[in-house]
């Protein structure tokens, strides 16, 4: 039987690489009986989906632009070449 510590680590790992059948089974078994780790798994999911939204929100925010100074600095630098 996995501990909560092992479970949390394996849930994190399963976001980065496929897990064996045995590990997935052990995880399921623990999660079935443990509210705290269910909550943790939900939190991981929430973080993941919001990170994607956070990235998209910056990328699509047209009020974010290169500053005039930065642009000028770049043009000077590029024209030296």
């Amino acid at each position: 039987m996995l501990t909560c510590k092992q479970t949390s680590e394996l849930i994190s790992q399963s976001l980065d690489k496929p897990q064996t059948w045995k590990t997935r089974f052990d995880l399921k078994l623990h999660l079935m009986m443990c509210k705290a780790c269910q909550q943790y798994a939900k939190q991981m999911h929430t973080i993941k989906s919001n990170i994607f939204k956070l990235r998209e929100s910056i990328q699509s925010d047209e009020s974010i632009t290169l500053s005039e100074e930065a642009k000028k600095r770049m043009i000077d630098k590029l024209n030296q070449k």
Partner: protein, 185 residues
């Protein structure tokens, strides 16, 4: 040629900057990445007009973003990347010696309107920026840029085990930070 690059900068500079900022979360690093992209574009102009200039420049920028993070991680103080991994294996802040949660993860209120969604993302952003810098950089490479672990390990010259341990540490710190700071009205 220089004219061409000035045009590119005027036409695509802001887009490229937002693309870099969304992934690096640092104004100066993002500006540098755009500049490096433009320099590379002049130096090695392989643009054939088969794809759009923007797509071509974005392809270069993706490499410059990895370069920036690799450089950034290497510049961090000597407290070696592997130390962090070693520390990461002791999770005493979160579990007792039997492996039980010291504080059980709580249900988060689901952000259920646009305003709350924006607030949640703002807190998430702050929490990422509060992570130890190396962890933050590694976490962003994995979660924001969505690189596979193999690429991250190769770029940063760390073992897969180190990478998993550090990502675990980063996620545990993040969820703790969110639990403290995200309070749904």
């Amino acid at each position: 040629m220089a004219e061409n690059v000035n045009d590119w900068l005027n036409e695509h500079g802001d887009y490229l900057y937002r693309f870099a900022l969304a992934r690096l979360r640092d104004q100066h690093q993002a500006e540098d990445a755009v500049q490096e992209t433009m320099l590379a574009a002049i130096k090695n102009n392989t643009f054939k007009g088969q794809s759009s200039a923007r797509t071509w420049l974005t392809g270069i920028l993706k490499h410059k973003i990895i370069d920036a993070q690799r450089k950034y991680i290497r510049e961090q103080p000597v407290s070696d990347i592997t130390d962090l991994a070693a520390n990461g294996t002791s999770m005493d802040d979160f579990f007792d010696d039997k492996g039980h949660w010291l504080e059980k993860p709580q249900a988060w209120g689901k952000p259920d309107n646009t305003l709350q969604q924006d607030q949640f993302m703002a807190v998430l952003g702050t929490c990422i920026d509060k992570l130890p810098k190396k962890l933050a950089a590694l976490f962003m490479m994995r979660e924001i840029q969505e690189h596979e672990n193999e690429i991250i390990c190769k770029e940063l010259d760390i073992t897969p085990t180190n990478a998993w341990v550090m990502l675990y540490r980063a996620r545990m710190s993040l969820r703790k930070c969110l639990e403290i700071n995200w309070v749904k009205d």
